[in-house]
């Protein structure tokens, strides 16, 4: 069953004015439960706008977006941002409890479970300022998983980290995802990262159309050193080169 349905979605900033700018142009796709979908594309292709509309932070001009839960209650969303966005005056554990709907034993157990999963089980009583950037981002990931979201939205969560830390976190994210099987929409500009993590890659092109929808059918866990992963990464990159040839605006990006 589809958890996220996007149907004929359009978004125009400043509609009806001289500066009218269409960033999403009749986008339709849906995401089935327990899949990991990446949205990639050059900067300015509308990735962030799409996320903001899905999360309800931004309105759309026309079309439909719906997130459904399987239990009939309102759908719960989880977020991982580019930066950790932790309350500096609360400990790691309190930060994670802050976004829980109820502060009960179950919530506490979930918080502990996911903290252990990201390897920070011993750091629950630390303040964010006492952790490194990579550790803080791991808290951000654990926080999002711990709300048991129907849809987990990740907005370039590793783009502010150094390459080695990011690689470690990608491996960890794969492990957590394999255990929890949450439905994820993962936005990135990094094709290599998208191939390593996703079941499917939606490529947006400048102007806000879907250029291609690529299934990634590789066994998990995937590691970057795996030749099959590398081959597929090269193949997807080659397809994006094609996009550059068709849409000149994209040539400077990707």
């Amino acid at each position: 069953m589809a958890v996220l349905t996007v149907n004929d979605l359009c978004k125009t900033f400043g509609a009806g004015t001289a500066r009218s700018n269409r960033v999403l142009d009749h986008i339709s796709f849906d995401v089935r439960g327990q899949t990991f979908v990446s949205v990639v594309g050059p900067s300015g292709c509308g990735k962030s706008t799409l996320l903001n509309i899905i999360s309800g932070v931004e309105t759309h001009t026309s079309g439909d977006v719906s997130v459904t839960s399987d239990e009939g209650r309102p759908a719960r969303l989880g977020y991982v941002f580019q930066d950790p966005r932790l309350l500096p005056w609360r400990t790691v554990r309190k930060n994670m409890l802050y976004v829980q709907d109820k502060d009960d034993d179950q919530a506490r157990r979930r918080v502990s479970t996911y903290l252990d999963m990201v390897g920070l089980g011993q750091h629950g009583d630390f303040f964010p300022g006492q952790l490194s950037g990579g550790m803080q981002q791991r808290v951000g990931i654990a926080r999002a998983f711990a709300v048991e979201p129907d849809l987990l939205i990740m907005d370039e969560p590793f783009s502010h980290l150094d390459a080695i830390t990011a690689r470690g976190l990608r491996a960890q994210l794969q492990d957590i995802w394999a255990q929890s099987r949450k439905t994820v929409v993962f936005v990135t500009h990094d094709v290599v990262e998208a191939v390593e993590l996703s079941d499917r890659i939606i490529v947006l092109q400048p102007g806000g159309r879907i250029f291609e929808d690529i299934p990634i059918d590789l066994p998990r866990p995937r590691r970057q050193s795996d030749p099959a992963v590398a081959t597929l990464q090269a193949e997807v990159l080659a397809r994006l080169e094609k996009m550059k040839a068709i849409t000149p605006q994209a040539a400077t990006a990707v």
Partner: protein, 284 residues
């Protein structure tokens, strides 16, 4: 903060986070000891100059430190200290209370909404520029010989500080944290409690500490002119008796007492509330 003269020397790098915390604590202790030594030297120099001045000035103009300390001890022993200090402190804090009650909401509005900022900014700025003495005189004219004069004077002096600092604090709220909270479906009340108020607290402490330095002087000054009890009242009584030793003794006790309140009470409270800040942890 850079304190070049008494900065601790660099230490060997720490292996783990806990070791680092331990090293930082030890360095802080070393720095504290050096600071204490300099503090003692400063006091000794000050008392020395006072002693010399008292010796050379015409008899009766300036009592020496020993005479003043004897007088101070007599004031403490007589019990007058407690009642009059309590009166002054209560008036100061009552004034503060009024300042926070008025200044904090005004500051909140100023920080949150552009229109209210435009409405209040000039008024608050002007109120903050008026000399404290003017407020003292004004309060006396309004209330005459009464305990309300000093309270009003303190409130008038402190309100602009509180308003401006709270406004600054609200403007400093991290919008990313607000967006994060909204994305996770937190209610406006939760966001106010978990994001806005913790952001303002350091600014509120800064406001109270900044205005405290001025407020207790204004409070005493207003008591000198129109108090019916309190430290300022005692200083005036001694002045009318040409009792310079008494004037200085009361003044010295007042300074000691207010410094104790500022250093011990306010500072400790701040450290407790702001324990999450790295600089507070290092100082502990």
């Amino acid at each position: 903060m850079a304190r070049p003269v008494i900065e601790a020397p660099p230490t060997t790098p720490a292996g783990t986070w806990l070791e680092g915390e331990e090293l930082a604590r030890r360095a802080a202790a070393r720095t504290r000891r050096k600071r204490l030594a300099l503090l003692v030297a400063g006091w000794a120099a000050m008392l020395g100059i006072w002693q010399v001045a008292a010796y050379y000035l015409p008899f009766g103009t300036l009592p020496n430190p020993l005479e003043v300390s004897v007088e101070m001890w007599e004031i403490v022993a007589s019990g007058a200290l407690v009642s009059d200090f309590l009166a002054s402190v209560l008036k100061t804090f009552a004034g503060f209370g009024v300042a926070v009650l008025i200044g904090a909401p005004v500051g909140y509005l100023m920080g949150r909404y552009g229109y209210w900022r435009a409405f209040f900014l000039d008024g608050v700025t002007v109120a903050g520029t008026i000399p404290a003495l003017t407020y003292a005189v004004l309060s006396l004219i309004i209330f005459g010989l009464s305990n309300l004069g000093p309270v009003l004077a303190v409130a008038l002096v402190s309100t602009p500080y509180v308003a401006l600092n709270v406004a600054e604090g609200i403007r400093g709220v991290d919008q990313n944290l607000v967006k994060m909270s909204q994305a996770f479906g937190r209610s406006p009340q939760q966001i106010r409690r978990e994001v806005f108020i913790p952001t303002i607290v350091p600014y509120l402490f800064a406001a109270v500490r900044m205005s405290f330095a001025v407020a207790w002087k204004v409070e005493a000054l207003t008591e000198v002119f129109g108090g019916t009890n309190g430290v300022g009242f005692q200083i005036r009584t001694r002045y009318q008796l040409f009792d310079i030793t008494g004037v200085i003794a009361w003044m010295a006790l007042f300074i000691v007492f207010m410094l104790l309140i500022e250093r011990l009470l306010l500072r400790k409270l701040e450290q407790r509330v702001l324990a999450w800040r790295p600089e507070e942890r290092a100082a502990r």
